[in-house]
C-alpha cells in the first residue's frame, strides 16, 4: 500500500512536469507559427525565383548554377536543442541516413541534438557555432550562408543540402531536404517555363555572386523557422500524450490503492469480530 502511494506521488510529479512542458511548448509555438506565416511567402517566392533563374540560360555563366562532379556533399541539418519531442530528432537523423548514407558528407549542424548526433558518429563538422536552434536569428543564417558559399566556391564540397522538418500542420511534420547548391535545373519541382532576363546589371556573374548567398541564407532561415515550429509542435503532442498517460496510470493506481485499503480494513474488522467472538 505504501509502495502504491509512493508511485502515485512520483507519477503526479512527472505529470506536472510534462504538463508544464506542454504549456511552454504551446506558448512558444504560437510565436514560432507567427514567424512562419510572416516569412513563408518570402522564401517560397525566393525559391521560385531562384528556380526560374536556374532554368534561364544566363545562369550557366555562374559557378553557383553549374553542375559539377559530386565528390563531397555538405548538409545543413536542423534538429532540436532538447529531446522529449517524440520522434522529431530521430526522424531527421533517419532521413539523413536514408538519403545521404554512404556518401562523403560533411555536416553543419544547427541545434544541440544535431551537433551531438553527428559528433558522436565521427562526421566532419563544418562549424559548431550554431548549436542552439532557439537563439539563431536572421543574421546568423547570413553568416552561415556566407561561409558555406565561400567554401563551395573554393571547392571544399560540391553539393549543399539543407535537411529540415517541414511544418505541415500541428499534427504532421515531415522531414525533408532542399538542394541549395548548385542551383541547377533539377531543383525546380514544377516545370517552369523558360524565362529570360534580358538585362542583368552590372553583369550576370557579379549579380549571382550577390544574389546566391543571400538566397541561400533566406532559404536556410525559412528551414530554421519551419523546423523550430515542427519541434515545438512535436513536443506539444508528445507531452500531451505523456500527460494523459500519466493520468491513466494514476487512475489505475488509485483504484488499486483503494482496493488494497478496503481489503485491509475488511481484514481488520474480521479479525476484531472473530477476536470478540472467542472471548
Amino acid at each position: 500500500m505504501k509502495e502504491i502511494n509512493l508511485r502515485i506521488k512520483s507519477i503526479t510529479g512527472t505529470k506536472q512536469i510534462t504538463k508544464a512542458m506542454e504549456l511552454v511548448a504551446i506558448s512558444k509555438l504560437t510565436k514560432a507559427m507567427d514567424r512562419i506565416t510572416r516569412c513563408r511567402p518570402f522564401y517560397t517566392e525566393l525559391y521560385a525565383q531562384l528556380c526560374d533563374i536556374a532554368a534561364s540560360s544566363t545562369a550557366g555563366e555562374s559557378h553557383f548554377f553549374a553542375k559539377r562532379e559530386v565528390k563531397k556533399t555538405c548538409l545543413v541539418v536542423i534538429a532540436g536543442d532538447r529531446g522529449l519531442a517524440g520522434g522529431y530528432n530521430n526522424n531527421i537523423f533517419k532521413y539523413c541516413d536514408e538519403n545521404f548514407g554512404g556518401k562523403d558528407v560533411c555536416v553543419l549542424p544547427i541545434g544541440k541534438r544535431s551537433l551531438d548526433h553527428f559528433e558522436r558518429r565521427g562526421y566532419e563538422i563544418v562549424s559548431d557555432d550554431f548549436a542552439s536552434v532557439e537563439d539563431i536569428d536572421v543574421g546568423d543564417t547570413f553568416e552561415i550562408s556566407r561561409m558555406l558559399t565561400d567554401m563551395y566556391s573554393s571547392g571544399d564540397f560540391d553539393e549543399l543540402y539543407c535537411v529540415y522538418t517541414n511544418f505541415a500542420s500541428m499534427l504532421s511534420q515531415n522531414p525533408g531536404s532542399l538542394k541549395l547548391l548548385p542551383l541547377d535545373e533539377s531543383i525546380s519541382s514544377h516545370k517552369v517555363e523558360l524565362k529570360r532576363f534580358l538585362l542583368i546589371e552590372p553583369s550576370p556573374e557579379s549579380v549571382f555572386d550577390h544574389i546566391v548567398p543571400d538566397g541561400v541564407a533566406g532559404l536556410i532561415w525559412g528551414a530554421v523557422c519551419e523546423s523550430y515550429a515542427s519541434e515545438l509542435a512535436a513536443r506539444r503532442v508528445a507531452m500531451e500524450s505523456a500527460t494523459s498517460n500519466a493520468e491513466d496510470i494514476i487512475a489505475d493506481l488509485q483504484l488499486k490503492y483503494n482496493k488494497a485499503r478496503k481489503s485491509a480494513i475488511t481484514q481488520q474488522i474480521t479479525e476484531i469480530v472473530s477476536g470478540s467472538q472467542t472471548e
Binding site: 511567402p41 518570402f42 517566392e45 538585362l199 542583368i200 543571400d214 538566397g215 541564407a217
Partner: protein, 137 residues
C-alpha cells in the same frame, strides 16, 4: 497612367503587395528606377534608400533597403531584400547605438573580415539614421 504590380518581401514579412507607379532604389551598381513596362531585369540590391511612388506626382514612401535582389518580369516586380524598414518603423535610437558600436569595432585592431562586417554595419546604421531624419523633417 500606368502602374505595375510590386511585391516587397523580406524574411521579416511582406511589406508591400499592390500596384505602384515608380520604384527607385540603390543596386550594387548605382541608383535604379523601375517604371511600368520595364524589360525583364535582374539585379542585386545594395545598401541604400528605397523610394516607392504609389501614384505619379505623389510624395514617395521612403524605406531603408539592404541586400537581396530585385527582379522584373512580365508578371510584375519582386523586391526581396535582406532587410527592409519603412522610414516610420526605424528605431533611431537603436540605429545610433549600432553606429557607435560599429565605430568602436572599426577602431579596434581586428581581422579584415570583421572590419568589413563592421563597415557594412556602419553603412546600414548611417542609412537608417539619415532616412529617419529625412522622414521627420
Amino acid at each position: 497612367m500606368s502602374s505595375f504590380k510590386l511585391k516587397i518581401m523580406s524574411p521579416d514579412g511582406i511589406f508591400y503587395d499592390g500596384d505602384a507607379y515608380q520604384l527607385s532604389l540603390r543596386s550594387v551598381d548605382g541608383e535604379v528606377s523601375i517604371l511600368a513596362g520595364h524589360i525583364p531585369y535582374l539585379t542585386a540590391v545594395g545598401i541604400g534608400e528605397c523610394r516607392l511612388y504609389e501614384q505619379s506626382g505623389e510624395k514617395p514612401r521612403r524605406a531603408a533597403c539592404c541586400g537581396g535582389m530585385l527582379s522584373v518580369d512580365d508578371e510584375g516586380v519582386l523586391l526581396a531584400p535582406t532587410t527592409f524598414e519603412w522610414a516610420k518603423d526605424i528605431d533611431i535610437e537603436r540605429a545610433k547605438a549600432a553606429k557607435t558600436k560599429a565605430e568602436q569595432r572599426l577602431a579596434e585592431p581586428t581581422s579584415s573580415a570583421k572590419k568589413g562586417m563592421a563597415k557594412l554595419k556602419l553603412q546600414r546604421a548611417n542609412l537608417r539614421i539619415s532616412i529617419a531624419e529625412k522622414e521627420k523633417s
